[in-house]
């Protein structure tokens, strides 16, 4: 029995050391991406190409999801607010929910699922098929040529996609509340305009999306670059990207929200 306990404690210790080592390795990898971003910035075409794959191809899921989330918010918001005779505030509710929370968080989760997983799978497969090693043998640094452009494309795409998600959500809320239910259009827009604050709501929302963009893309490229070069290794890395990104988004959202919106009405 004591031997089992020793083995158990040893196992826990081993996992903790492994996790700390991996975290340190990830930090070092992140620093390398930043250090080697010169090529991507000088040859911006590399980033533009990746913007298409990470940004443009993710737009469909972002726009459709944003529309439905906004429609649901409009419906649920109207149902609750009308009990207090405040149904004209439904526009404010939809806009604040989207700009402050749902826009960055849901767009982040969708971005991690669609673009993050694709980045991990692509880099992981490039590694498994020796493309990264071949690049290194050609004296071309894979971090500068493959990883950095994907990282910056993700960082640029995420805030833009989140903005589209929120805009589409507001439109969805408008469709349900104004067009379908018949809430006064003037009140819908004017209340939204008077309550939503540019500095506290929109800028803070943008800051959140930028932080999420860095986190998701850094996780995606790290997992892809360090995936074991097997089918199982790449699939495991892809799953880890989605799971880790989702947890990091939710955790960071709580931390950022607690700093940004403390004491704000």
């Amino acid at each position: 029995m004591p031997r089992r306990i020793v083995i158990g404690i040893r196992g826990v210790g081993h996992r903790i050391i492994e996790s700390v080592w991996r975290l340190g390795y990830a930090a070092r990898f992140f620093s390398l991406i930043l250090l080697k971003s010169g090529t991507s910035i000088r040859r911006f075409g590399l980033i533009i190409r990746e913007l298409y794959f990470t940004g443009v191809l993710t737009m469909v899921i972002i726009l459709v999801s944003g529309l439905f989330v906004g429609m649901v918010l409009g419906l649920q918001g109207y149902e609750t607010l009308q009990k207090f005779g405040a149904e004209t505030a439904v526009g404010t509710l939809v806009a604040l929910s989207l700009v402050r929370e749902l826009g960055p968080v849901v767009a982040g989760l969708l971005f991690a699922s669609r673009a993050g997983s694709a980045i991990t799978a692509e880099i992981g497969l490039m590694k498994a098929t020796e493309q990264l090693e071949a690049m290194g043998m050609m004296a071309v640094d894979p971090i500068a040529r493959v990883v950095a452009p994907r990282f910056w494309a993700g960082v640029i795409s995420m805030p833009l996609l989140a903005a589209m998600f929120s805009a589409m959500g507001v439109f969805g809320g408008y469709l349900v509340a104004v067009v379908l239910i018949g809430v006064d259009e003037g009140s819908f827009w004017s209340q939204m305009q008077s309550v939503v604050d540019f500095r506290f709501d929109i800028v803070n929302g943008i800051i959140k999306t930028c932080v999420f963009g860095v986190a998701i893309t850094a996780i995606a490229v790290f997992e892809g670059y360090n995936a074991p070069p097997t089918a199982e290794g790449v699939s495991g890395a892809t799953t880890r990207t989605v799971v880790t990104s989702a947890l990091v988004i939710l955790g960071l959202d709580f931390v950022l929200t607690s700093f940004m919106f403390r004491g704000v009405g």
């Binding site: 490039m126 098929t129 020796e130 493309q131 090693e133 050609m138 004296a139 071309v140 040529r145």
Partner: protein
């Protein structure tokens, strides 16, 4: 023109963790020759190529390429040396998101400031040399195994390197593709004045095109010589390898417990 060997390997040892892969390897590879490194699977042949390319560092000893000790080079100097060498990977390692044309043009665009019109001409010349000028628009997924290997060959000679390393260039090819790749390696080596190092299992194809052969077994050089010397060798290992014999110094079975022990027969008899 220097007469020093292009690649010199001296007392080279390499281990993964505690497991010794290469033990006291000494090799000399003169310029302009095709040299084959042969041996069973997992004997350390590919590791040797990775050591020459500076992907991994030796535990002791050294690899000297073009008068530079590879593992002592700074990253910039290593990359500068790698611009003069190239490697053809076992399955080509073509960039799957780039067309055949762009794969061959990759190094030219990365390392030179040549205008696109010149790059276009050079790419077509390289593809013509491997017989695939007409396939320049295809994507790697549209190529057969043999064609992919030929595109990779065109890519590996894109910048006229002094040294090309081939990792199992004949693996998985039909007899025609195999012969085509073999002849191309010989022809390109002679035409471009480069040195080729071939890691392969394919004895018959290799002996037809190479100038010198090293056999590696269990991490050491078991035999070496010219193709005619190797064909006439009385070394049991070389004989077994060349004649594809099951019995010989290379065991069929991976080291294991006694068969009877694994089948639990000893306990039953007792």
């Amino acid at each position: 023109m220097t007469t020093n060997p292009l690649v010199e390997i001296k007392d080279l040892n390499f281990s993964y963790d505690e497991r010794a892969i290469l033990k006291g390897i000494n090799m000399t590879m003169p310029r302009g020759k095709v040299i084959a490194i042969m041996g069973g699977s997992g004997c350390g042949k590919t590791t040797l190529l990775r050591l020459i390319g500076g992907v991994v560092s030796p535990s002791s000893g050294y690899v000297r390429v073009d008068d530079q000790i590879v593992h002592e080079l700074s990253r910039d100097k290593l990359f500068s040396l790698r611009r003069k060498m190239s490697m053809l990977f076992q399955f080509g390692a073509l960039f799957t998101d780039l067309s055949v044309f762009d794969n061959v043009a990759f190094q030219m665009r990365e390392h030179t400031d040549l205008p696109e019109s010149v790059i276009r001409d050079l790419v077509f010349m390289k593809l013509h040399a491997v017989g695939l000028r007409g396939a320049h628009n295809l994507m790697p997924a549209e190529l057969s195994g043999g064609m992919a290997r030929r595109v990779a060959l065109a890519r590996s000679i894109a910048l006229d390197p002094m040294l090309v390393m081939y990792d199992e260039p004949f693996a998985g090819l039909d007899p025609i593709s195999l012969s085509v790749i073999g002849k191309l390696i010989r022809r390109l080596t002679d035409a471009l004045g480069m040195t080729s190092i071939l890691v392969t299992h394919d004895v018959h194809q290799s002996l037809e095109i190479v100038d010198y052969v090293y056999f590696i077994s269990e991490g050491v050089i078991a035999a070496h010589g010219t193709p005619s010397e190797v064909r006439g060798s009385v070394s049991p290992f070389v004989h077994q390898f060349i004649h594809s014999e099951v019995d010989g110094p290379v065991p069929f079975h991976y080291p294991a417990e006694k068969y009877a022990t694994d089948l639990n027969l000893e306990n039953r008899i007792a």
